[in-house]
Amino acid sequence: MTAIGERLPRKEDSRLLRGLGRFCDDQDRAGQVWMRVVRSPIAHGRLVSVRKPGNAASGSVVTAEDLPPGVRIPVRLNVQGIDLTDHLQPVLAAGEVRYVGEPVAVVIADDPYEAEDIAERVEVEIDELPVTVDTAAGTLAAEFELGYGDVASAFAQAAHVVGIEFDIGRHSAVPLEPRALLADVDPATGALQIFGMTKVPVFNRDVLAGMLGIDEHLIHVHAMDTGGGFGVRGEFYPEDFLVGWLARKLRRPVKWVEDRAEHLVAVNHSRQQHHVISAAFDENGTLLGLKDDVLHDNGAYARTHGIIVPELTLAMLPGPYRVPAFHGRIRVMLTNKTPCGTYRAPGRFEGTSVREQLFDVAADRMGVDRVELRRRNLLTADELPHTRAMSTLGTDVVLDSGDYVGLLDKAVVEADRLGYQSQLESLRARGHTAGLGVAVFLEKSGLGPQETADVVVGTSGEVRVHSGGTSLGQGIETVLAQVTADALTVDPAVVTVVNGDTVLQPFGGGSWASRSTVVGGSAVHKAALAVRERAIQLAARMLEVSEDDLDVTAGAIGVKGAPGTSVSYAEVAKAARPGSPHLRDDEPAGLSARRRFEVEHMTYPYGVHFALVDVDTGTGHVKVLRYLVAYEVGRAINPTLVEGQLLGGVAQGVGGALLEEFRYDDAGQPQAVTFMDYRMPTAAELPHVDILVAQDAPAPGNPLGVKGAGEGGVTAAGASIAGAIRDALSLTGPVGRLPMTAERVRGLIEEGT
C-alpha cells in the first residue's frame, strides 16, 4: 500500500472552500495600529522633505530619519561573486527617490481608512531629476559572462549562422492576495509574532532579527494560508522590516495590508530583457554553437534576488540541446522603474522564448522541419547525465536523467491524436490565419542544498509533519502527507502537515525554485522512515519480540505472520512518554524524528508545449484555441496536483505572451496600476489545456525520484505562442517581442515581415 501516486483530494480544500482559511488580513488584534506606506509619485528626484499634515498626531508619520541609519534590504542569494551593496534598496528613501512607488514614509493610525487619509495629506517635496526608462540608457549594476567551448571557431566553421533580436516585456506574478503583515509584540520582552511572511519564513526571520539586532528566537513567524506566491510574494520587502520594527517601537500590534494599486508598483516586477542571440549550424542543421548578448532591466535597485534571474537566464539558455559551445553575456541595468526579482520560471521563460524562436527562424532558413531540427539537436538519453561547464545558484549544471527526444515524440503523437494538426489545416482551409507553435524546454528544480523536516506521532495516533516548505496554494500539505503516509504505512487522513512555522521548524528552507516536493518531500520521507524505525524498536520491546519479526501494516506494528499481535502507532507513542518502562534512561521521550536531506545538484525536469492560435488580422487579436503541455516529472506524488501546477502555469504564460505588461511613459510613470491596465487572462482568454504528465525518468538524486512541477507550465508558453503567431503570419523573421498584444500583431501584419 502506498499513498504516493494517488489522486487524493487536497487536505487544504475543506477549510478553503468554507472560507475558513487563515490569510493574514483575516486576523486583527486588540489595540492594533494600521500602517500605510507613503510612496513616491515621482520616478527620479532628490527627496527634499517629507512633512506630516498639520492636524495629524505627533509620531503618526515615520520617515527615514526615524529609522536606524542606513537600513537596506539585503540580497538573499549572492551569485557570481558580484557585490551589489551600492544598489540595495533602503527601507525608506533618504535623499533620493528612484521609482514611482518607492516608500518614502509610513503613516500609523488606529483605523486603515484614517491611515490612508493621513497618507494622502503627507507633503512629499521632490526636486525632479532626469528619468531613465530605456534599459540601454540605464546604469550598469553588474556584468558577467557564462559559457564553455570554442564559440568563435564554431561560428567560423558554420554552414549556417542565424541570429535574431528579441524583447521580453516587463510583467510579473501578481498573486490574487495582496501582501499583508501583522506583527504582534510581547510588551514585556519585545518578542514578535509575525503573520504573513511566506515563501522563506526562516530566512526572513533571520534577516529581520539581524536588522533589529535581536536574537532570531525572539521572532516567531506563523504558518499561514497564502493567496499565491509565484516567486514575488514572501521575499523580504521594506514593509517586512517596518511592521516588526514599529511593533517593537510602539509596543502595539501593527497591521499592514497593501492595496492593488500599491502592489502593482511595489512588488517585484520581472522578465524585462533584450536578447541578441545567434546560433551556428553545420550543413545538416546540427548545432555547433550558441551565443547570446542580453540586456536585463532590473529597475531601480537590486533586491533580495540580486542577479539570480540574469544568471539563470544564461545558465539555462542551452536548454535540453546538445550545444558544443556556448557564450552568454548579460548586463544588468538599473532604470527608474520598480525593482525586479524572480517570477515563476525566472530566466527560463525569457531564455526559452528567445532560443525557441531562434530555432524556428533557423529551421525555416535551412529548410528543415521545426520539430526535426529540435529532434536532431536534443541531447539523447544515452548522453545523460550531461555536465555543462557552468554553474548556477552555486551548483554545477548536471542534467541528471531523461529522454528529451522520447518526450518530444510522445508530445507530437499526442498533439496529432488530439487533432491539433487537422484543426490547423481545417482552419486554414476556411481562410483563418491560424498557426501552430512548438517549443521544447528544460526546467530546473529541487535546489538544496538542504531541507529539514520533523515527523511527530501523537498519542491519538495523529501524525504531524513540521516541514520547511510554505503553503502558497500548491497543495504541498497534501503532497507531504502522502509522502509521510507512504513511509509510515498509515492512512494519509491521519497526517497533518504544518508548513512555515519557524518555531516548529526552525531550519526550513522555504518554498521556491520548485523545491518543496523534491527537497522538502525527501526530508519528510527520511524523518518518517526514522519514526517508523523507532516505532518498530519500541514495539519490539512492548511485544517482547525481535525487531526483525515485526512489520508495519495499515498503521499497526505487528508480528509477521501472527495477526492480532500488534501495537498501533498511538500505543507506541504512549509507550514513548516519560516514565514509560519501554523507554531507556539515555533515550529522549516521544515518538518523533528530525531529519535533514542534503543534495549536491538540482534535478532537471523538461517538457514540450504546443499552441494552436487563430489570429484576427483585422484587430490583431490572438485567440489560443488549443494548448498541450507534455512534462516529465520523474514521479508524480499526486498527479492531479502536478496537472494543476501545469494548468496554472499555462494561464500565466498566456498572460505574459499576449496580454500582461508593465509599461511606463517617458516620465517613468507606470501605465498599469489597476486590473484595467494590467490584463491578466480570464477564463474567456484560455482554452481547455491538454496535459500529458510523463514519469519515465525518475530523478536519481533523491529517494522519491521526483522532479519539480511548479514551473513547467509557464516556461515555454511564451515560446510556443510566439512560434504559433509566427507560423500563422508566415513570418520569415522573428515576432521580435512579447507580449504580442493586438497592437503589436497589427504592427507585424502591416510591416509584412
Binding site: 483530494p9 487536497r10 487544504e12 480544500d13 475543506s14 477549510r15 478553503l16 472552500l17 468554507r18 472560507g19 475558513l20 482559511g21 490569510f23 488580513d25 483575516d26 486583527d28 481608512y113 506574478a173 501578481v174 498573486p175 490574487l176 492576495e177 495582496p178 494560508d225 497564502t226 493567496g227 499565491g228 509565484f230 492595496d259 492593488r260 502558497l472 496554494g473 500548491q474 497543495g475 492531479t640 496536483l641 496537472e643 494543476g644 494548468l647 496554472g648 502555469g649 499555462v650 494561464a651 500565466q652 489597476t674 486590473f675 484595467m676 491578466m680 480570464t682 477564463a683 474567456a684 482568454e685 484560455l686 481547455h688 489545456v689 507550465g713
Partner: protein, 159 residues
C-alpha cells in the same frame, strides 16, 4: 467628524445590528466588523471578484458596495454554503475538479457560480461558462477546474 450609521443586515440567516461609518465598504463590514473573513479582497476596484457575495440573491462586489447600502438586506457569503460539516454540491465539485489552489479567489468564484447556477435550467456549454466565470480572476488554476466544476454541478442539478 465621522458620519456614523446604525444598520441591520442578515448574513447567512443571522441578523446583525452594527454601527458603521458611511464610507466603510461592505467587504470591511463583513470581514472586520462581523468576522466573515471568507470574503476576500483582492483589488478594491471591482475587477477581480474575490469579494463577490450575494446581496438579496444577486452577486455583487463587496468592495464596491458600502456597508450602509446593505442596510435591511440579506447577504450570503461563502460561510453560508456548507450545511454544517457537509460541503455543498458546488464546493464538492470544486474540490473534485481541482478548481482551487491557494483558495483566495475561491469564495468569490463559489458565490458567482452559485448565483449563475441558480438561474440555470439546462446544462450550459463550456464557452458560456467561461464567459460567465470571466467576471472573476484566478491566478493559480488556469480556470479549467473551475469551469469543469460549474458544468458538472449544472449537470447534476439538471438531473
Amino acid at each position: 467628524m465621522k458620519d456614523i450609521h446604525l444598520i441591520a443586515l442578515t448574513v447567512n440567516g443571522t441578523e446583525h445590528e452594527i454601527v458603521v461609518e458611511s464610507r466603510r465598504t461592505l467587504a470591511d463590514v463583513l470581514r472586520h466588523d462581523l468576522g466573515y473573513t471568507g470574503t476576500h479582497v483582492g483589488c478594491e476596484h471591482g475587477i477581480c471578484g474575490a469579494c463577490t457575495v450575494l446581496l438579496d440573491g444577486q452577486p455583487v462586489r463587496a468592495c464596491l458596495i458600502f456597508g450602509v447600502q446593505a442596510d435591511g438586506c440579506e447577504v450570503r457569503t461563502v460561510e453560508g454554503l456548507a450545511d454544517g460539516d457537509e460541503l455543498s454540491d458546488l464546493q464538492k465539485a470544486f474540490s473534485r475538479c481541482h478548481g482551487l489552489q491557494c483558495g483566495f479567489c475561491t469564495p468569490g468564484f463559489l458565490m458567482l457560480a452559485e448565483a449563475y447556477l441558480s438561474e440555470q435550467d439546462g446544462v450550459p456549454d463550456e464557452s458560456e461558462v467561461r464567459e460567465v466565470m470571466a467576471a472573476n480572476l484566478c491566478r493559480c488554476t488556469g480556470y479549467q477546474g473551475i469551469v469543469d466544476a460549474v458544468r458538472q454541478v449544472a449537470e447534476e442539478r439538471a438531473g
